[in-house]
């Protein structure tokens, strides 16, 4: 016994301090400079949205929340004063673009959480219990995903619009993120179901059951932490899709009607372009372009560093 104890303590000297898989992944992520730059861009967008919320709450009179103010003649070209010119009402397009960040990010964030709140538990339950429960859940999401996505969101948006739910009136933006969230949990559900099926027959799950864990405990404490990196990766990539979905809905006239959003701006630009007014279009496009690109690059880097199967470094 004493002999082998000494080998173990010698072994101990070599091993580094306890590091979880998460810490490991994040350390790898931090090494990717470009991905971190993209992450900073995403953070900037979020900071802007948060700032607008704060400004509205405390009634600070700053640019973006005074978007409805008339700053000049209608349809003025971009100039030093109004870098993206003005729209038909003489409102600053730049201010509207900034304000649009709040709408877009709110919609994308809420929709992400709703789809996660539906998809994650359903996927885990379907994958873990299989059998009839699984069949029902798969049947529901197969049905849902067989309907063309845009049509489905539109249908939900139309139904939910201006309805009262639990005594709470669904204004434009709420209806939008509800519609997106309720229709887009299929992807995450499928992903989690597949991963849970893969993990649930692993020996560590059997071992956990052998020392007395209940099913609920196994799902919550053992399975979900093991697939959670996929949730985060999926979240970051899906977020972009939700920003686009909001734009599409607004473009089709089912979005936020009373406040500026990027989709609404592009919708306006549809008529304006024929008159040679391109700046509203440009501003909204730039805003969408940068967050989409940054999130996509960051999401890919996140996957590379968190997914154990892709680890090469």
């Amino acid at each position: 016994m004493s002999e082998e104890k000494s080998t173990i303590s010698a072994d101990k000297v070599q091993t580094p301090k306890g590091r979880s898989l998460w810490a490991d992944g994040l350390r790898r992520l931090r090494k990717r400079k470009f991905a971190m730059a993209c992450f900073c861009i995403v953070l900037l967008y979020f900071a802007l949205a948060a700032f607008i919320y704060l400004a509205e709450f405390f009634d600070w009179q700053v640019g973006p929340i005074k978007w409805s103010e008339q700053v000049g003649e209608s349809y003025q070209k971009p100039s030093a004063q109004n870098i993206f010119g003005t729209d038909i009402f003489g409102q600053s397009v730049f201010r509207k673009t900034l304000y649009g960040a709040k709408i877009s990010l709110t919609v994308a964030l809420c929709a992400s959480f709703i789809s996660l709140a539906i998809g994650l538990p359903l996927g885990a339950i379907a994958g873990y219990f299989r059998g009839l429960v699984d069949e029902i859940i798969v049947w529901v999401y197969s049905t849902l995903s067989s309907i063309p996505y845009i049509l489905l969101i539109l249908a939900f948006a139309v139904v939910l619009r201006e309805k009262t739910l639990f005594g709470y009136k669904l204004t434009g933006i709420t209806a939008v993120y509800l519609a997106i969230g309720l229709t887009s949990w299929v992807g995450i559900c499928r992903l989690i179901r597949g991963e849970v099926i893969k993990h649930k027959d692993r020996e560590y799950i059997l071992a956990a059951r052998s020392y007395g864990c209940s099913n609920g405990r196994i799902i919550l404490k053992h399975l979900i932490p093991n697939v959670f990196h996929l949730v985060i990766i999926d979240f970051s990539l899906r977020f972009v899709a939700f920003i686009h979905a909001e734009v599409i809905l607004s473009f089709l006239g089912f979005g936020e009607a009373h406040r500026p959003s990027w989709g609404a701006m592009i919708n306006d630009a549809r008529i304006e372009l024929s008159r040679g007014v391109w700046w509203q279009m440009l501003a909204a496009t730039i805003a969408i372009f940068f967050i989409s690109l940054a999130l996509n690059i960051f999401g890919d880097a996140l996957r590379d560093s968190l997914d154990p199967k892709l680890r090469t470094q």
Binding site: L21, Y204, L206, A207, S210, Y211, C213, S214
Partner: protein, 336 residues
């Protein structure tokens, strides 16, 4: 063997898997008795049903497709097959614990070993987090892990196979179970570590007085560690005996074949003898005695091909299931 000396007795256990290709009868009519404080070895080739027997005891057969179709599993006077899910969970880990073959994959990769041991402890004992942690450190020391206080915050991927198996053992014995099921605990480890792990199990058995059901295909391990042995072949127990007599005088041709195929010190042989043929698949078991196609005696015998011999006691503490085994027929005549 007196009844109160038996910790676990399995009576006519049958576990089948209902697959799309048909019913795989993985375990058929298995009966065995595990005495208190003893090591009982269950030996057999891969796929003979020994792991399924073990999983049946703690009722963790993957269901569907698996199902225990018959028999009784009496543990401390209580039929485990009649317990509800909640009662069964209270027994798992607490009264009956299990360790597995693959220490590399039996620990949850996202938690520290301390986390997992304390989870096992707190599931069965009402301890605060800090006290459970202290208990975990104590157990880690007990299983021979140096620097237990630091090791407790390590993640599984930082540990070697032998260390992980020690952690698994620590988790298993953390609640002082009266039965430890060790399913090929050393198969995945290299030989020097194997001996250490088996020594550790011996030591733990001595001072916590538990019984061990040792599942293995390694006859060397059996000879050294077991008190009683059951040999399984194609879903049935073919021979059961105390360890010494099994090795000195095997009765079943399968056991004889197994022992002959072991390398022996001092004996120069060009090639080791082998048992011809392969283990039949559970879906296509032969009729009659399942060993007859490979048997040196029975392959041409009409009775062996058509009628399956049942396990029958042929001497004090020795049972065998073979028409040609010494004493089998005599016993039959005597009984009828």
């Amino acid at each position: 063997m007196a009844e109160d000396e038996t910790l676990l007795s399995i009576e006519n256990l049958s576990t089948h898997f209902f697959t799309e290709e048909g019913v795989a009868k993985a375990v058929q009519n298995v009966s065995l008795k595990i005495p208190r404080k003893k090591t009982f070895a269950l030996v057999g080739e891969s796929g003979c049903g020994k792991s399924v027997t073990a999983l049946s005891i703690i009722r963790l057969i993957p269901a569907p497709p698996g199902r225990i179709v018959g028999g009784r599993i009496i543990f401390n006077g209580q039929d485990l097959l009649e317990l509800g899910d909640k009662q069964m969970r209270e027994i798992r880990g607490n009264k009956i614990a299990m360790i597995f073959q693959e220490p590399m994959t039996s620990l949850n990769p996202v938690f520290t070993v301390g986390n997992q041991i304390t989870e096992a402890i707190r599931l069965h004992q009402d301890l605060s987090g800090a006290r459970a942690r202290a208990a975990a450190v104590r157990i880690l020391k007990e299983v021979g892990i140096a620097g237990a206080k630091q090791r407790i915050s390590d993640y599984p991927h930082q540990l070697s196979g032998g260390m992980r198996q020690r952690i698994m053992i620590a988790m298993a014995v953390s609640c002082r179970p009266s039965l430890l099921i060790a399913d090929e605990p050393t198969t995945a480890l290299d030989v020097t570590i194997q001996a250490q792990i088996l020594d550790l199990l011996d030591e733990l058995q001595k001072h916590s007085q538990m019984s061990i059901l040792l599942i293995t295909h390694d006859l060397g391990v059996v000879a050294e560690r077991a008190d009683d042995v059951a040999v399984m072949y194609a879903s049935r127990i073919v021979e059961q005996s105390d360890c010494e007599s099994l090795f000195s005088r095997p009765l079943h041709p399968y056991t004889q074949g197994l022992l002959k195929s072991l390398p022996q010190l001092g004996l120069k042989a060009e090639r080791l003898p082998v048992i011809p043929g392969t283990v039949p698949e559970p879906l296509h078991f032969p009729a009659g005695c399942k060993f007859h196609p490979r048997c040196p005696i029975g392959s041409g015998d009409e009775r062996c091909r058509t009628v399956e011999p049942q396990l029958r006691e042929v001497a004090e503490g020795r049972s065998v299931a073979c028409w040609y085994a010494l004493g089998y027929e005599e016993n039959l005549k005597f009984k009828t």
